[in-house]
């Protein structure tokens, strides 16, 4: 490997642009930072060697060098952006209706474009292997770029000497010459800079005043924060760290909490939806404006049970209560490290319905017999006494007609309908009653008896999000470190002033990574009243 020995005696690694110690431009590497054609030196990374070119590169070196390029990093980010944009053109699969085939949905809704979109797998873009690989590559690029820059930068800043090469000094943006300067003036300038908290170092009369080097590490601290955020995102795919699921629980129902390996059950004792009082003058106007009731509280009174002993799915487990309380929006009920959040609800499912049997032509509808149909545990036959009985021929929890035939859309009693056969001592064979809410759809109108609804019991359903999240502390730490890095890089400035004595004159040069105005102010106030000429901003002169 070729190292570069500078005339100041310092040995620099291959690829160095400006000598780490004295800053002398290393002639054959000036193209790297584009210094050949400009008067000023490009000071990024202190002109240190970022990507050492090695002959006989191994595969490891080749991969390393690929990822250490900022150009590659930027391209990865651009590609990820484009991919992310594509993913928003059509809805992702998780957002399309559940009851249709994804392939059909994309074709029917979006035509040929939808079909291509689906075929290319863009309907699950964000969890596709190549998208994850892109994100991961950005992470890899971030790590390698940082390592490849922070190490040489650290070396260069550590090894810098107060005595710089005249070529380095002359080619700084702030540069000035003054002839016949008194030593007393130099001393005064130094002491003023000291007062401004510059750290002073000296070598044979050459002086370096430096402050805020700390600022240079900001971007790397920031990257460490980003990497922690990426790690947290990866941890989210492990169920130990993160789960998210959903469970609907009906009032009175005890249901398995998903993702708990069958260990925990939840019972919904009551679901409450409160609304703002329209008679309260504070709300009356807003409610009127809104045109409908405004909910003020969603709440589930719940109990959580743990399964005792070993059971297998389907067995009725022995349950012991482990927690009990109210679940409100943002106020979850927790068991172990799993939290149950109030997320949704459905009102007014049917719990039970009561009926009476009466004579069809009885205006008073005096009951001959009564019975209650419990939706949770319905019976096939109800004995009404006196020889009358009702047989449930069919029951449709969510009734609808399909091509003239009654059927049910689901198992949930949202719109129940019944076909009852009525038997009695004075009924030949039986009479058919077809009932649903608000209608008695008897196929024959010559029925002697009729069944009417006398009452209904309703129940609500609560929708709960089941969540475990141990990744938030990682995100928090990552975000805090990220912000520390930003603040470090933004609110501190790395300022350096070189005082470079020549035979008859003294040169002053200065550099900062940002806020040149502030640096100029520092220098002007330090040079005030001395013989020194104020350095010129060579960039401005151009």
């Amino acid at each position: 490997m070729n190292e570069i020995k500078c005339e100041c005696g310092h040995v620099n690694p291959e690829g160095t642009v400006l000598c780490e110690a004295c800053g002398k431009p290393i002639e054959r590497n000036q193209h790297i930072d584009g210094n050949e054609k400009s008067k000023l030196l490009n000071m990024r990374y202190e002109g240190s060697a970022r990507r050492s070119k090695t002959r006989n590169q191994t595969v490891v070196d080749k991969i390393w060098i690929f990822f250490s390029s900022v150009k590659v990093g930027v391209w990865l980010i651009v590609l990820t952006l484009i991919a992310s944009i594509i993913g928003t053109i059509l809805p992702q699969e998780m957002y399309i209706p559940q009851n249709v085939e994804a392939a059909d949905h994309y074709r029917d809704e979006y035509g040929l474009f939808g079909q291509i979109y689906y075929q290319l797998g863009f309907h699950n873009l964000y969890s596709s292997w190549w998208y994850i690989l892109l994100i991961a590559s950005i992470g890899v690029s971030l790590v390698i770029c940082s390592i490849d820059r922070v190490v040489p930068l650290y070396r260069a800043l550590k090894r810098q000497k107060p005595k710089r090469h005249s070529n380095f000094i002359r080619r700084q943006r702030l540069f000035g010459k003054t002839e016949n300067v008194k030593q007393a003036d130099i001393d005064q300038v130094v002491s003023r800079l000291k007062k401004k908290r510059y750290r002073i170092s000296e070598e044979n009369g050459h002086i370096l005043a430096e402050k805020g080097r700390f600022s240079r590490w900001g971007p790397y601290v920031n990257h460490i924060g980003l990497i922690i955020v990426l790690i947290a995102a990866i941890l989210r795919s492990m169920s130990f760290f993160y789960i998210e699921d959903y469970v609907w629980v009906r009032e009175g129902e005890t249901k398995l909490i998903p993702q708990t390996d069958g260990q925990y059950f939840i019972k919904n004792n009551d679901f409450i939806m409160d609304v703002y009082d329209e008679n309260d003058e504070r709300y009356a106007e807003a409610i009127k404006k809104n045109g409908e009731m405004i909910p003020s509280n969603y709440e589930t009174k719940a109990e959580i049970y743990k399964v005792k002993g070993d059971t297998i799915p389907g067995q009725d487990p022995e349950l012991t209560k482990v927690n009990e309380g109210e679940i409100r929006v943002n106020e979850p009920l927790t068991v172990e490290d799993i939290s149950l959040y109030q997320a949704s609800y459905q009102l007014n499912e049917f719990q039970s319905m009561s009926f009476k049997l009466h004579l069809s032509d009885d205006e008073n509808e005096s009951p001959i017999g009564e019975f209650t149909f419990d939706m949770n545990n319905p019976k096939k036959e109800y004995d009404l006494g006196n020889g009358y009985r009702v047989v449930v021929d069919d029951y449709f929890p969510e009734f609808f007609m399909e091509e003239g035939v009654p059927d049910t859309k689901s198992k949930y009693p949202k719109k129940p309908a019944f076909i009852f056969f009525v038997y009695g001592p004075d009924i030949e064979d039986y009479e058919v009653n077809f009932l649903t809410i608000g209608a008695n759809l008897n196929p024959h109108n010559n029925n002697q008896y009729k069944i009417s609804i006398t009452g209904v019991d309703m129940r609500d359903v609560t929708g709960l999000t089941v969540k475990r999240d141990h990744t938030l502390p990682f995100f928090a730490v990552g975000a805090i470190i990220f912000m520390i890095g930003v603040v470090q890089g933004m609110y501190w400035y790395h300022r350096r002033v070189w005082i470079h004595p020549r035979e008859n004159e003294v040169w002053i040069a200065a550099h900062t990574n940002k806020n040149w105005y502030g640096l100029k102010k520092d220098i002007e106030s330090s040079l005030e009243g001395t013989d020194f000429n104020i350095p010129d901003d060579q960039q401005e002169l151009k």
Binding site: T58, W129, S237, P313, P397
Partner: protein, 182 residues
Amino acid sequence: MSNKKKKRFIFRSIVLAILLGAVVFALVSNFMKDKEAVADGDQAPPFELEQVNGEGAIHLSEDLKGKGVMVNFWATYCDPCKEEMPYMQKLYPEYKEKGVEIVAVSLDATKLRIRNWIDKNHLTFPIVHDKNGTVMEAYGVFDLPASFFINPDGTVERQVLGALTLDRLEGYLNEIVPESEK
């Protein structure tokens, strides 16, 4: 000098190995997340459910030991489920002889509806009631119908999410006929 180069090689290799590990981990764990709860070749999750058209409960690994078992998840409100039921009924007597049992797990809310359906369609294979949906959850089934074909040794030979045709059903049932009956 070559020592320095060696050091750098080792350092880069370690960093790249760690990064590669993280990338592979991210890919694998993302892939695993989408995976079905029961994979082909896995031991079928055990269950015990009350019979609707018979006495007592059926315990998968105890009562049906040594038999090929088709576990079919269905419900009376699921039209494609109801369409494949007659196929199952048609093949059931023949395959029961060969040592294959069919267990239909209903996800209905009430036994009343299941009984009505059994009576109207004269189904003779055992039908059990998964009232709380815990067995469905254990098998990772979200959409009906779904069928699991389980080998006599208790491993899952095949799972079919969606409806079956008569031909396919017969082929799959053949796959799980115990060796002794072939």
